[in-house]
């Protein structure tokens, strides 16, 4: 029989406001096994924890129940408290009487009744708890960063700086990501390339970092400290270690009319190409879909002009398998498609562009060599209209865009408007906004400069319609302050498209068993306290794959993720989750049903000798759980007909006891 202590937390008025905490602790006093029951203002406080520790010592408690907030909040806290008092941490159960009781029920009577029942369930469970000891597993001292944008680059550099090897996997032929496509950066207006490319070079030159560009992760197995990852290296038909990046091939290739992704299709590239001059690795890549040689064996020009002999038309996709201790997701973002916003005529006119396209149009390395020219006729635009919040902050019932604020648009639009007025003072620039959001260091000052120094016309109101009319764009919008409808004849319309997570994130999350929100952003382990960790142990989040953010925030998060990774890799051993499956070999049929449903391959079989009741011996096949691999989902326990398989910490008996207590 256990000696159980019950500790009911008031959580200020959070619980005590709707639950009669004294009545709860009094009622639970009578439950079988309970020898001590009390309540206190804040159980998680030092004083509260001391109450628990003292009671454990004083009453010789063998198990404790804390009726408080969600176990997702403070289970770990109270487990530590118990451990500090010499009680096994797994002899602690939490009755969630805040999130799942006091906060959702208004009536004191029903709230109290329910709190008592939840407490009884927890007591019933603790009565059947057994001390558990976590197993240990070694840590592979190597990290994987998925995504080679500024987030991935910074994370990799920081990890490598601490002395651990890091691999970056990037789907594009070069690292650099979105930042490489930008012209200037707000609010300082320094050139993106000038601050990014040195970091790219650092990555290339760091002997701790390997870059797998033009590659993707195809399989992830294992668990924290021990991931087995399969990386597909797509054939680029150019030997990376031989190519000098001289670019001769990219000038001679006869296939010239391929839309250049790097410039968002605003100019063309060849079938063999280097995305941009500062690409890392600076090697050419052959585009399989457009190369004549690869498609029908007729060409071979690049091989002829390559002095280094780097071209290899027979290259195949390669798969490499590597072990990692930690994985960082840094898959980044993309602007959303403008398909559902046809009122802005994006599909009808070349002169309606997205802000990222505008970046390329103003970039010295872009399709116009940095001159702001209309895509349709190459003329200077005299009137430019910027539209903010295109697809951001939409209501879900409108089913068009995203519900969230994309965060970066206000600032880059101010930047675009300012730069335009700076370079071309003869241009009229209008910015239609719903709200201008500038919380950030020097952000509002930047926006005010655009208005005050550069004379950008900021208009509170939204563009309702853009219609191409005779080579111009008729922009119809409302000015809410002046309460009038405007019609502006514009030469160029720039849409601040909402951003969304990269499409590769969803399948990656599935492979990593990392959770995502409905918008496909990775979920953090805790929104405030663990913002750079995924709930899946060993998986960390860097950059916009977790939510919209600008460059400084991304770099900060990248560093934070790196430090978490370093913290993990610095350990020699990891303590596992002791709530793992366990097979009772006396009952095991050896039928492999559990093995078939185990997502981790944690179950193996062995032939074991048993003494039979008639004193003979028999050999039987029985299951064995690898506790380091088991993650404790419990799928096997239900698949197992005989009930030989049980889950420590969530045993059949424990759950049944909870059911009984609730239904009593």
């Amino acid at each position: 029989m256990q000696r159980i202590g019950v500790f009911v937390c008031h959580c200020g008025t959070n619980i005590a406001g709707t639950v009669d905490v004294a009545a709860v602790s009094e009622a639970l006093k009578n439950e079988p096994g309970v020898v001590y029951s009390t309540n206190y203002q804040y159980m998680c406080s030092q004083a509260g924890q001391d109450i628990i520790k003292n009671a454990i010592a004083e009453h010789g408690l063998t198990g404790i129940v804390v009726c408080s907030c969600s176990p997702r909040m403070h289970e770990a806290t109270f487990r530590k408290t118990a451990a500090a008092a010499g009680l096994n941490s797994y002899m602690v159960e939490i009755a969630n009487i805040r999130e799942q009781c006091s906060w959702v029920h208004k009536d004191m009577k029903t709230g109290t009744e329910k709190a008592i029942i939840l407490g009884k369930a927890a007591v019933a469970k603790v009565n059947l708890n057994a001390p558990l000891t976590p197993g240990e597993s070694p840590v592979t001292k190597r990290a994987l960063v998925i995504g080679g944008g500024i987030a991935g680059i910074q994370t990799a550099l920081d990890i490598a700086d601490a002395g651990f090897p890091v691999d970056i996997v990037e789907t594009k032929p070069t690292i650099g990501g979105k930042m490489a496509q930008l012209d200037k950066t707000f609010p300082t207006l320094d050139c993106a390339a000038c601050i990014l490319t040195p970091k790219m070079v650092d990555v290339a030159q760091n002997d701790k970092i390997r870059i797998f560009s033009y590659s993707e992760v195809t399989d992830v197995k294992g668990f924290v400290g021990n991931f087995d990852v399969t990386i597909k290296r797509r054939a680029r038909y150019v030997k990376e270690d031989v190519c000098t990046g001289c670019g001769a091939c990219t000038e001679k290739c006869p296939q010239k009319k391929i839309p250049n992704e790097f410039n968002l299709g605003m100019d063309n590239r060849r079938a063999i190409y280097i995305p941009f001059a500062q690409a890392v690795p600076k090697v050419a890549t052959i585009d399989l879909d457009h190369c004549n040689m690869l498609k029908n064996g007729k060409c071979g020009v690049c091989a002829k002009v390559c002095a280094a002999g780097a071209i290899d038309y027979n290259a195949k996709d390669e798969y490499i398998e590597e072990k990692y201790g930690a994985i960082v997701a840094a898959t980044g973002f993309n602007p959303i498609s403008m398909d559902k916003f046809d009122e802005f005529a994006y599909s009808q006119s070349k002169d309606v562009i997205t802000s990222l396209e505008f970046e390329r149009l103003t970039n010295a390395a872009g399709p116009t060599g940095g001159k702001l020219l209309r895509p349709s006729d190459g003329e200077h635009p005299r009137t430019i209209v910027f539209v903010q919040c295109v697809g951001s902050r939409c209501d879900s019932c409108a089913q068009k865009g995203k519900e969230y604020c994309s965060k970066i648009c206000c600032m880059y639009t101010a930047k675009h408007a300012m730069l335009t007025r700076d370079k071309y003072p003869d241009t009229d620039v209008y910015v239609f906004y719903i709200d201008v959001r500038t919380p950030g260091k020097n952000f509002d000052e930047f926006y005010r400069r655009a208005v005050e120094e550069y004379g950008v016309h900021y208009i509170k109101g939204m563009v309702g319609k853009v219609s191409p009319e005779g080579g111009k764009l008729m922009v119809q919008a409302s000015d809410l302050i002046d309460n009038k409808q405007l019609r502006i004849e514009a030469d160029l319309v720039v849409l601040a498209a909402a951003i969304e997570p990269d499409r590769s994130a969803r399948p990656l999350a599935t492979m990593l068993t990392a959770s995502m929100d409905t918008n496909d952003f990775f979920t953090e382990a805790h929104p405030k306290l663990r913002p750079v960790e995924s709930p899946t142990a060993g998986v960390f989040l860097s950059g916009t794959c977790q939510g919209p953010k600008d460059i400084p925030e991304t770099v900060a998060q990248a560093g934070a993720a790196a430090s978490k990774v370093i913290g993990l890799l610095a350990k020699d051993k990891l303590m596992g989750n002791p709530c793992v499956a366990h097979s009772d070999e006396n009952m095991c049929n050896g039928c492999s049903t559990c093995e078939n449903v185990c997502p981790y391959g944690a179950i193996t079989y062995e032939e074991k000798e048993f003494r039979m009741p008639d004193r003979t011996t028999r050999i039987r096949r029985v299951a064995r759980v690898n506790e380091a691999v088991c993650q404790g989902c419990g799928c096997c326990t239900v698949a197992c007909m005989s009930g030989a398989m049980n889950l420590k910490g969530f045993k059949n008996e424990q759950i049944l006891a909870e059911v009984d207590a609730i239904c009593r």
């Binding site: 939409c394 509170k460 109101g461 309702g464 319609k465 809410l480 409808q485």
Partner: protein, 129 residues
Amino acid sequence: MADNKKLKEDVLAISGVNVRKCMKCGKCSGTCPSYGEMEYHPHQFVSMVESGDIEKLMQSESIYKCLSCMACVERCPRGVEPGKLVEAIRLISIRRKDANRLTPDRISELLDEDMPQQALVTAFRKYTK
């Protein structure tokens, strides 16, 4: 005041619109083809309904200037549907007067070759209770 409250409730019930969703972007008014004709513009309908200023709207010609084209409904990023508010207020107004301004037997005289059918449908929505 109590009347105003009731009126607001009626408008909201008839239209099914949740005015609190509006984030005051003005895209409805930016999109409105009748903007110039209207004393109160679509975004004002939303904010005035929210503040209970419905009598003013009912007295205004604006409720008949609205073409019921529903462009504002289509384009509103928040799904607020200002056009439905206009319709609801119009409906209350017509009900109060207890007289349809258009009856089916008058249709034939209104018909001409250039009249799009949609206009008739819209007219019916606008002038009947």
